[in-house]
Amino acid sequence: MTFSPTLEERFSKLLDSYPEGKTRSAVIPMLLYAQDEIGSVTPELVQEVARRCRVTPLQVEEVVGYYSMLHRKPMGRIHLQVCTNISCMLVGAMELYGHASRKLGIGHKQVTADGQFSLEEVECMGACSWAPAIQTNYDFHYNVTPEKLDQLLDSLKKIQ
């Protein structure tokens, strides 16, 4: 598989980050960075990461099944993650998630027909003092209300 020069650079830096013979440590970061670029963890990617980290494909498969941020199917261009854990729940996160779901017309881990948005109800994202919090891909948004969410989704739609 070929990746962008930036990603290749990151990979070689990653493989240099661990002691001699410990390249298995690079498996999880490599999968995540590659997923950011190609959209999901494909069977080819599993093989590729196994080859580069000098582990078996099975050793890669087993972590793909474990970590919640790794997806075997592509998510939307904008992956909307709404935290509904306790601190967010207390200040309206359940209603916010319901609002997002109705607005986008999709449920948990689903993707809109045009591939623009996907939605996920996630566990605590570590923004509890500025709740309710959401993430669009890796960007955090704090103290989100349904109105703010509408504006945000509209602005993200316009970019395409």
């Binding site: 970061p29 306790i86 207390l90 570590g126 509890c128």
Partner: protein, 438 residues
């Protein structure tokens, strides 16, 4: 970027720089504000002296367990021929906790200096900062700071002419609460599923790649430079007996002024909610209180008001100080829903390694669902308590306890709310009735 304003009640020790006007967290700013000086001080000291100073400071681990840091460092066999490692737990995922990010985002070199002092103390040449995957912005900030430190000679070989070599790397996780548990974090850092290891041996003796490892929370490492600066005794005096210093406290939930604040250990709960937190909105009453993340047993408002925020006070009241993630629930809170949401989390995050946790959390979630939706029977309330109690102490790591403890306390203290939800449910048909129906 600071997400909330400084409160006058705060005692700024770890966060003192980030509240300086114009402070940007760059290495220039850090050095200008006295940064890396404590490392140079540590170089002049023997490892024993550094460990003693940390012991005198009464610093206890800030990740949740509260283990004395000096003692932990003292367990590392420094004479061992194996390489030694420094690992920072920046997998901040305990619900209610969002403090490490404040330090890492605004003063990344403070963490690097803490690591450097720890590395000097045990003779480690390599360290990793394990950052949760969702915090990609912090991975970038940390990598930038590490690059700056290499360029300025504070990382790498022969650091500032001391002859010490220390390399540091940022490592991203990919979404797993369990990886905040120290042995699961090490498994994950080795490229595997994040499942816990049986202990002993503890990481101090056999940690990363089966080598001696110091593994601490971000806030713990970040506290070390100020301990050397002030001296362990003065640092300890900021807090109370047996728990020195300050604690970054995350105020969350029903509050007028939520945020992350640096408060001395032993700070009164009442003042923390009403003064620092600005009180509960609309003058409502405090119904329930979680002192440090959703793994802690829940306290009722009446129990919580007279307490102080420290390890012993919370332990005496039957809870824990935990990670500093305070959750305030007002009188409108549905405690059945709260219990369900907490259990939903643990069922999702159980790594599946130990059966009591994997099965227990899933069944508890199902029963709590029934209770919440009004399909449960009176027996189900006891079943929740019994199931949760059977998880206690029967798992490799504390996740099983973390799921059971809040549940047991909520069912015990707010039983009337569970009873109210089943009051109008018809008794399910007996086996005989079902047979007769055929």
């Amino acid at each position: 970027m600071l997400l909330n304003k400084r409160h006058p009640e705060e005692v700024l020790v770890l966060t003192k720089r980030i509240h300086e006007p114009g402070y940007d967290g760059s290495i220039d700013a850090y050095l200008k504000h006295g940064g890396y000086k404590q490392y140079l001080k540590a170089v002049e000291m023997t490892p024993e002296q550094v460990i003693d100073e940390v012991k005198v400071s009464n610093l206890r681990g800030r990740g949740g367990a509260g283990f004395p840091t000096g003692m932990k460092w003292g367990f590392v066999p420094r004479q061992s021929e194996k390489p030694k490692y420094i690992v920072v737990n920046a997998d901040e995922s305990e619900p209610g906790t969002c403090k490490d990010r404040v330090l890492m985002e605004n003063d990344p070199h403070l963490l690097i200096e803490g690591c450097l002092i720890a590395a000097r103390t045990i003779g480690a040449q390599l360290g990793y900062i394990y950052i949760r995957g969702e915090y990609r912005f912090l991975v970038e900030i940390t990598e930038r700071a590490i690059d700056e430190a290499y360029k300025a000679g504070w990382l790498g070989e022969n650091i500032q002419g001391t002859g010490q070599t220390f390399h540091l790397r940022a490592h991203t996780g990919a979404g797993a609460y369990e990886c905040g548990e120290e042995s699961a974090l090490l498994e994950s850092l080795e490229g595997k599923r994040g499942v816990p290891r049986i202990r002993p041996p503890f990481p101090a003796v056999s940690g990363l790649y089966q080598s001696p490892t110091i593994l601490n929370n971000v806030e713990t490492f970040a506290a070390v430079p100020s301990i050397l600066e002030m001296g362990g005794k003065a640092w300890a005096a900021l807090g109370i007996e047996k728990a020195g210093g300050t604690k970054l406290t995350c105020l969350t939930g029903h509050l007028n002024n939520p945020g992350v604040f640096e408060l001395p250990l032993g700070y009164p709960v009442e003042k923390m909610i009403n003064t620092v937190g600005g009180g509960i909105p609309k003058g409502r009453k405090l119904k329930a209180f979680i002192p440090g993340g959703s793994s802690c047993p829940v306290l009722t408002g009446d129990e919580a008001w007279p307490l102080t925020m420290d390890y012993d006070s919370m332990a005496k009241a039957g809870s824990m100080l935990g990670s500093g993630g305070v959750v305030v629930m007002d009188e409108t809170t549905d405690m059945v829903k709260a219990a369900l949401r907490i259990m939903h989390f643990y069922a999702h995050e159980s790594c599946g390694w130990c059966i009591p946790c994997r099965e227990g959390t899933t069944w508890l979630k199902k029963i709590l669902h029934r209770l919440d939706e009004g399909h449960a029977t009176a027996k189900d309330i006891d079943l929740v308590g019994d199931l949760a109690k059977n998880m206690l102490g029967r798992t490799f790591c504390p996740l099983g306890d973390a799921a059971a403890l809040p549940t047991i306390s909520i069912v015990h203290k707010f039983r009337h709310e569970f009873e109210a939800k089943i009051a109008h449910t018809a008794a399910p048909p007996t086996a005989e009735q079902l047979v007769a129906l055929n």
